[in-house]
Amino acid sequence: MTELHSLRDMSLALAQGKVSSVELTQEHLVRVKTLDASLNSFITLTEDEALAHAAAADGLRAKGDSRPTLGLPMAHKDIFCTNGVLTTAGSKMLSNFVAPYDATVVSKFADAGMVSIGKTNMDEFAMGSSNETSYFGAVANPWDVTRVPGGSSGGSAAAVAAGLVAGATGTDTGGSIRQPAALCGITGLKPTYGRVSRFGMIAFASSLDQAGPMTRDAEDAALMLSVMAGFDAKDSTSANRDDAWLNAIIHGGIADLDRPLVIGLPDQYYENGSNQASIDLARQELEQLGHSFKRVSLPHTDAAIPVYYVLASAEASTNLSRYDGVRFGHRCDNPTSLQDLYERSREEGFGAEVKRRILTGTYTLSVGYFDAYYLKAQKIRRLIAQDFDTAFAEVDLLLTPTSPTPAFKQGPLNDDPVAM
């Protein structure tokens, strides 16, 4: 498999009959079994299902099916419900939960003939930036196993960076695709909200959650996005837009630009000692391609993290109220009353970071604080959105550092609830 690094390489090799999907899938499974002991990027490996789906893909190809995605191995973040397969969201609360249906994203990849080999590790309920809050153990960064891969989609990022799979799904609420992709040196894309269905994706903060691809390069990200995006009636916030350009990507790849771009550099994103040398290299490359740069201002940037924290925690405390130990998930032993069942099941089932966010959300939504926090944060969210509208009236896109630092060491930031 050494020469087959990208999804597109594999797609071409499959089309030319140089390899079968079963062979590719077997190679991927062996790679995970050999290398993942030091990474812990997978929670569940679905070997039998994967080989059966790969054989089915090979069968379709033999009958003339030539779709570019047919038979390509991949993995799903363990936040997507997979029918009949353990779906944990990295939590003890769901450590026994076998999803009774497929998420729309999972169905779409299966319908495209792609072969999921398993479910990747993640911060518990997607709350974290280091993948150290998973009930199933921390994930290591493949470039340096003493460092974090980022989070919350750290398992997907590490698996792609280590070449265990060429593509994996992730989800992003406050950076959970972008930051681990940056820390593992791969490509991650958080699509526009509403572009990818949230049906069957375990909820953290519903007004921010969005799924996207994690791959080795932009063209593979486009290939995966073209499969996973699109309107879904089962998601009430799915955006009904023209998807023709997405369908064109599957067969034609990313279209050439018809003009040079004006790229915005937001002042506020360059104030905190980011690695300027790396950004300058990227700038030089873009300039050589004929694009130009323009400074822009996003004046409410400082408020973005507090606003995110208020909105995400409030929505999380509401969403996670469904885990009550009654219909599914962890239940405490010998409950003495219904109240005791709720309180101990939740206390035992959730980890420290999740409980912290639930308490924060409960606090900001409680009587007397709602206007000062939740409503205030929603007003500032409009100001932040207006900042971006203003900037995008002048520029085509923004170039920013994804993270203020490279991958940091495991451990030291764990005890500080606001450091990350």
């Binding site: 507090p306 208020v310 109240q339 924060t360 409960t362 007397g368 000062a372």
Partner: protein
């Protein structure tokens, strides 16, 4: 954190971050909590509240809340049954069931 630019109704809100009653919050959130955990959780919450208090200095006079990124109206559909779920299928994940019911400790003696 300066609040001099804050002139909306938010001013009347209680002073946040002081004397957070974690035991009460835990009860609201249905989370069992012991005294030791409660004191650590209170300290965590105070530092989080300090972080989020930074937004109180932003002037939001006359700004409408944005509750949703698409800022649109909820989509409606015809009021028709589209799924026929099998309760037994979903009960496979339940800790305790009896026929179509989910079992919990006795609520009424």
């Amino acid at each position: 954190m300066s609040q001099t630019t804050e002139t909306s109704a938010d001013e009347s809100a209680p002073t946040p971050g002081t004397g957070i009653d974690v035991t009460h919050l835990s009860a609201l959130a249905r989370l069992a909590i012991d005294a030791k955990t409660a004191s650590a959780a209170a300290a965590d919450l105070e530092s989080i509240v300090n972080l989020i208090d930074a937004m109180r200095s932003v002037n939001t006079d006359g700004v409408e809340p944005l509750s949703h990124p698409l800022d649109g109206v909820a989509r409606l559909r015809a009021d028709q049954v589209t799924e026929n779920p099998d309760p037994k299928h979903f009960q496979r994940n339940a800790p305790a069931t009896s026929d179509a019911y989910y079992l919990v400790p006795r609520v009424v003696e």
